[in-house]
C-alpha cells in the first residue's frame, strides 16, 4: 500500500472522529491500566528526593550539596513532585479516563437493572458447567425447588415448546459496588483538592512563657491553598506556660522519649476569655476551626546581652533546633541593638554534655541534666535592614567578622556557658546564659471539608468489598416431562470465571434435588 493511499482515509477523519477515537483510547481499560502504573512510577521520585511541601529546609540543603544536579532536578519539578505538571497530568488523565469509564457503565447498569434475565439458550448441555438430572417429581415441583435453591435472584419462568424454562440472574450488587468504588475515587480526589485549596498549614515555635497569636508574621513556616485568603486567619491566641517532657531514665532504651505535654491558656477570638489547654502528641487543641498539634520540642536558652555601659540590649529565650535524639541543638542569636556594631552568635546547645574520648563534647541525654551553651561570635551588619526576609535560624555572615581567640588567632573566640554563667566579649559586651526554657513546635492546620474525602473513601471501601465478593451468575434450567419422569437440564454461567465452577454446580444441583423424588443423575 502506498503512502498516498494510506493517507487517504486518514484525511477523511474529521476532528469529530479524531476526538471520538482519542476518547475511546483514553477510556479503554488498557489505557486506565497503563495510567495507573504510570502514576505509581511518577510518585517514586517524591519519596527519594526531599520535597518542598514536606521539608523545605532539606531541599535547600540538597541544593547546596548538589550544585550541579540540584538545579536541573529543580527545573524538572523533582522537589515538588506532587504538584508538578507531569504528576498532575497523569492523575488528571486518569481521572478523565475514570469518568469516561464510569458514565457509560452506569448507563449500561441502569438498563441492566430493569432488564429481565436473558432467556435460556437452546442447548444447555453445551455449557462447560451443565448437567442433566432425572426425577420423578413434576416440572412445577422442580421449578419450585430451583427457586428455593437459587435464593435471592431475579427469576423468569416461561413455557416454550412444551418445556418449562427458568432463567435467573443474581449478583447485581457486584457492578453496583464497582461503580460506587470508582465514583468514590472521584469524590476523594475532588475532596482532597478542596481541602488543599481552602486549607492552610503552618508551624510555629513557642517558648515557655511566650504567646502565639494566629497571624501570619508569627509563623515559622506557612503554606496555604490558592483559594485561602491569608488575611482571614481566624483570630485566636495561646500562651505556653509549661512544657513537660519525660525520657526513659535508664536501661537499654535510656533517653527514649516517654511523653510530651504542653499546657497553658488559649483564647478564642480577639479578646475571648482565657481557657486552659493541654496539648499532647495525638491530642490536638481545636480552636476557631483550626487544630493545634504538638509536632516537636526543644530548648530555648534564655540569653541576656548587656552593653559595656551596663544597659541590657537583648534578653529573651532563643530556640535552638534539635539535630539528634539527644537534643544536640543548633541555633543563632541576633543582637541588632548592640552598638556600635551589631552582634551575631552561632553555636550549639547540649542538654547533658559529656566529653568523649576524642575530646569532642556531645549530648548524652535529652533531659537538661548538665546543660551547656557554646557559641562563636560575629560583629558587623546582620543584614536585617536590606529588606530581604531572613530566617531566624541562619546567620547572614556576609557583612560580619568573627571575633578570634586572643591567644590563637586561627581559632574563633568561643563563648562557653552553663546556666547562670556569663562571659565578657572582646568588645566589652557581656553575654549571660540566664536560664533554660523549653519550646514546643506547634503545627497549626485547617483542613475544611476533610469529611468529604473521608466519607468518599469509606463508601469506596464498601463498594470495593461488594465488587470483589459478590459473584454474579446466570442460571438456566429447562424442565421437560418425558413419560413418567422429568428430565432437567441445568447450566450456570459465571460472569467472573472460576475454576471450581463444576464443583459449585454439583453443590447447587444437590441443594435443588433435596426436596425432589429420587432419580438418577448423569452429567
Amino acid at each position: 500500500m502506498s503512502a498516498q493511499k494510506r493517507n487517504e482515509p486518514a484525511s477523511e477523519l474529521g476532528w469529530r472522529e479524531m476526538a471520538r477515537w482519542t476518547w475511546r483510547q483514553l477510556t479503554s481499560m488498557r489505557t486506565a491500566l497503563s495510567l495507573l502504573l504510570l502514576l505509581a512510577i511518577v510518585a517514586i521520585p517524591g519519596s527519594l528526593l526531599p520535597q518542598r511541601g514536606v521539608d523545605a529546609r532539606a531541599v535547600e540543603a540538597y541544593l547546596t550539596d548538589h550544585p550541579k544536579a540540584g538545579p536541573l532536578l529543580d527545573r524538572l519539578g523533582m522537589f515538588s513532585v506532587y504538584t508538578s505538571p507531569w504528576f498532575s497530568g497523569v492523575y488528571l488523565l486518569l481521572m478523565v479516563s475514570l469518568i469516561g469509564c464510569i458514565v457509560p457503565r452506569a448507563l449500561v447498569y441502569a438498563r441492566a437493572l430493569r432488564a429481565r434475565p436473558p432467556r435460556a439458550p437452546r442447548n444447555l448441555l453445551r455449557f462447560p458447567a451443565s448437567t442433566e438430572i432425572v426425577t420423578a417429581s413434576s416440572p412445577d415441583d422442580v421449578i419450585a425447588a430451583t427457586r428455593v435453591a437459587l435464593g435471592r435472584a431475579r427469576i423468569d419462568v416461561v413455557e416454550r415448546d412444551g418445556a418449562l424454562e427458568l432463567s435467573a440472574e443474581k449478583g447485581y450488587l457486584r457492578e453496583a459496588g464497582n461503580l460506587v468504588f470508582h465514583i468514590s475515587i472521584v469524590v476523594v480526589l475532588v475532596g482532597v483538592a478542596a481541602t488543599v485549596l481552602f486549607g492552610y498549614r503552618g508551624a510555629a515555635i513557642v517558648s515557655e512563657g511566650d504567646r502565639f497569636s494566629n497571624v501570619l508574621t508569627q509563623y515559622d513556616e506557612f503554606g496555604s491553598g490558592s483559594l485561602f485568603d491569608r488575611d482571614s486567619l481566624p483570630p485566636f491566641s495561646l500562651k505556653l506556660d509549661d512544657f513537660a517532657a519525660t525520657y526513659q531514665p535508664d536501661g537499654p532504651q535510656r533517653g527514649a522519649p516517654l511523653s510530651f505535654k504542653a499546657t497553658g491558656t488559649y483564647s478564642d477570638g480577639v479578646d475571648g476569655p482565657d481557657r486552659p489547654f493541654t496539648i499532647r502528641v495525638n491530642h490536638p487543641l481545636k480552636v476557631a476551626g483550626t487544630s493545634v498539634f504538638l509536632v516537636g520540642q526543644g530548648y530555648s536558652p534564655v540569653i541576656k546581652v548587656t552593653d559595656p555601659d551596663g544597659e541590657v540590649v537583648f534578653d529573651e529565650p532563643v530556640p535552638f533546633l534539635p539535630a539528634d535524639p539527644s537534643y544536640t541543638s543548633n541555633g543563632v542569636v541576633k543582637v541588632p541593638e548592640a552598638k556600635p556594631e551589631q552582634l551575631g552568635f552561632q553555636g550549639f546547645f547540649l542538654p547533658t554534655f559529656v566529653t568523649g574520648s576524642d575530646g569532642a563534647t556531645r549530648s548524652a541525654f535529652p533531659a537538661p541534666l548538665s546543660p551547656i551553651l557554646g557559641l562563636f561570635v560575629w560583629h558587623g551588619d546582620l543584614g536585617l535592614d536590606d529588606g530581604q526576609p531572613q530566617s531566624v535560624y541562619v546567620l547572614d555572615k556576609r557583612k560580619m567578622t568573627q571575633y578570634m581567640d586572643a591567644d590563637d588567632p586561627t581559632k574563633g573566640f568561643r563563648v562557653s556557658l552553663q546556666p547562670g554563667e556569663s562571659q565578657r566579649l572582646p568588645d566589652g559586651h557581656v553575654i549571660e546564659f540566664v536560664g533554660l526554657k523549653q519550646f514546643a513546635r506547634f503545627q497549626i492546620a485547617s483542613t475544611p471539608g476533610v469529611q468529604v474525602p473521608l466519607i468518599g473513601i469509606v463508601l469506596g471501601l464498601i463498594g470495593l468489598i461488594g465488587s470483589l465478593s459478590v459473584k454474579p451468575r446466570r442460571t438456566w434450567v429447562r424442565v421437560r416431562r418425558d413419560g413418567s419422569r422429568t428430565v432437567v437440564h441445568v447450566a450456570v454461567l459465571d460472569r467472573v470465571p472460576r475454576v471450581d465452577l463444576p464443583a459449585d454446580l454439583e453443590r447447587f444441583v444437590q441443594r435443588m434435588q433435596e426436596p425432589l423424588d429420587e432419580g438418577e443423575v448423569s452429567s
Binding site: L33, L48, R201, P284, I444, L461, S469
Partner: protein
C-alpha cells in the same frame, strides 16, 4: 517473671521459631525434591509408541514426598506457636502492644503471615507454597534479629494511640495475605510456563502434583482480593485518620505514605489486569509480584534508608 526474664524468653522463642522455620523449609524442599521422578497424580498415561518406562519406586517416592510435606506443615505449626510465645512475652516485657518498632513489626508480621498460610493450607490445601513462605519467614526473622533488634522498651509518644492497634494490625493482615498471594503468583508463573513448554512425557516432579495454573491463579486472586480492601483500609483510611490527629494533615506524601500508595496502585493494577485482555495470566502475576516488592521496599527500604515521619526502626 521479671520484665528482663520475659524479654529473654521472647528472644529465645523467636530464635527457636527461626530455627524451626529453617527445618520446615528443609522438609518442604524435600517434598519437592523427593517427587522429582513422580508423574502427575491423576494423569492417565497412555504412551502411543512402546511401553513407557515407569519408575519402579514411584509409589514410595510419592509417600516420602507426602511425608516430607506433612513434616513441613507440622514444623510450621510449631514455629508459629513459638513465635506467638515470642510476640506475647515481648508485649508483656515492654508492657504495651508488641509492634512499636521494626524488629517487633517483623516478628508479628511473620506471625500473621504464617497464621494466614496455615489457615489456607487447611482451607484450600495450598501446602505447595510452603517452601516459599517458610524460607521468606526465616529470612525476615533472622535478618530482623541480626540487623534491627532493640531490647524491649517504651513506645515513642507519637505511637501512643489506639490507632496503632487498628492501623498496624490491618497493615500486617494485608501484608500476610500479600505474601501468600505473591508465593502463589510465583508458582503460577512456574506452572504456567511448564504447562506451555513441557511435553507430556516429561511431566514429572512436584510441579505436576500441584493444581493446574488456572487453580493457582484463582488462589492468588482470592488472596489478593481479600487483602486489597484491608490494605485500602489500613493505608488510605486508618492511616490518614491517625495522621490527621497526630500531625495535622491526613496525607503529606511522607515516604511511607508514598510507597503505601504505590503498593495500593500496584495491586489495583493487578486486579484490573486480571480483567483486561492481553494482561490476564502472566502479566497480571508479574504485576502482583511487583506490587509485593513495593510493599517490601516500603517495609525495608523506607524504614532503613529513606527516613521520614514513619521511621521508628532504629
Amino acid at each position: 517473671m521479671t520484665l528482663e526474664q520475659l524479654g529473654r524468653l521472647s528472644n529465645y522463642s523467636v530464635v527457636s521459631a527461626t530455627i524451626v522455620l529453617a527445618l520446615a523449609f528443609v522438609a518442604y524442599a524435600a517434598q519437592w525434591g523427593l517427587a522429582r521422578n513422580v508423574a502427575p497424580a491423576r494423569r492417565v498415561a497412555v504412551p502411543e509408541r512402546g511401553p513407557a518406562e515407569t519408575p519402579v519406586d514411584t509409589g514410595s517416592d510419592v509417600d516420602r514426598s507426602d511425608t516430607a510435606g506433612g513434616i513441613g506443615f507440622s514444623l510450621t505449626v510449631l514455629a508459629e506457636l513459638m513465635l506467638v510465645i515470642g510476640v506475647v512475652t515481648r508485649g508483656l516485657a515492654a508492657e504495651r502492644v508488641p509492634w512499636g518498632n521494626m524488629y517487633e513489626f517483623s516478628c508479628i508480621a511473620i506471625m500473621g503471615a504464617l497464621a494466614v498460610y496455615l489457615l489456607l493450607v487447611r482451607l484450600w490445601d495450598i501446602d505447595w507454597i510452603g517452601a516459599l513462605v517458610t524460607v521468606f519467614a526465616m529470612i525476615v526473622l533472622g535478618a530482623s534479629m541480626l540487623f534491627v533488634y532493640v531490647p524491649p522498651g517504651p513506645l515513642v509518644p507519637a505511637l501512643d494511640s489506639y490507632w496503632l492497634v487498628i492501623h498496624v494490625v490491618c497493615a500486617i493482615l494485608a501484608g500476610a495475605a500479600f505474601l501468600v498471594g505473591a508465593a502463589a503468583s510465583v508458582l503460577y508463573l512456574l506452572k504456567a510456563r511448564a504447562e506451555q513448554n513441557t511435553p507430556d512425557a516429561e511431566r514429572t516432579g512436584f510441579l505436576w502434583r500441584i493444581p493446574s495454573s488456572a487453580v493457582i491463579d484463582q488462589v492468588a486472586y482470592r488472596v489478593h482480593a481479600f487483602a486489597f480492601p484491608i490494605w485500602t483500609f489500613a493505608a488510605l483510611i486508618a492511616g490518614p485518620i491517625w495522621a490527621q490527629a497526630a500531625w495535622g494533615r491526613y496525607w503529606g506524601w511522607d515516604a511511607k505514605e508514598v510507597w503505601a500508595f504505590i503498593t495500593w496502585v500496584g495491586y489495583a493494577a493487578y486486579l484490573h489486569a486480571r480483567a483486561t485482555a492481553g494482561w490476564r495470566g502472566k502479566a497480571a502475576a508479574i504485576l502482583a509480584l511487583l506490587a509485593f516488592s513495593t510493599f517490601l521496599f516500603n517495609y525495608i527500604g523506607v524504614n532503613l534508608f529513606v527516613g521520614g515521619l514513619h521511621s521508628y526502626a532504629k
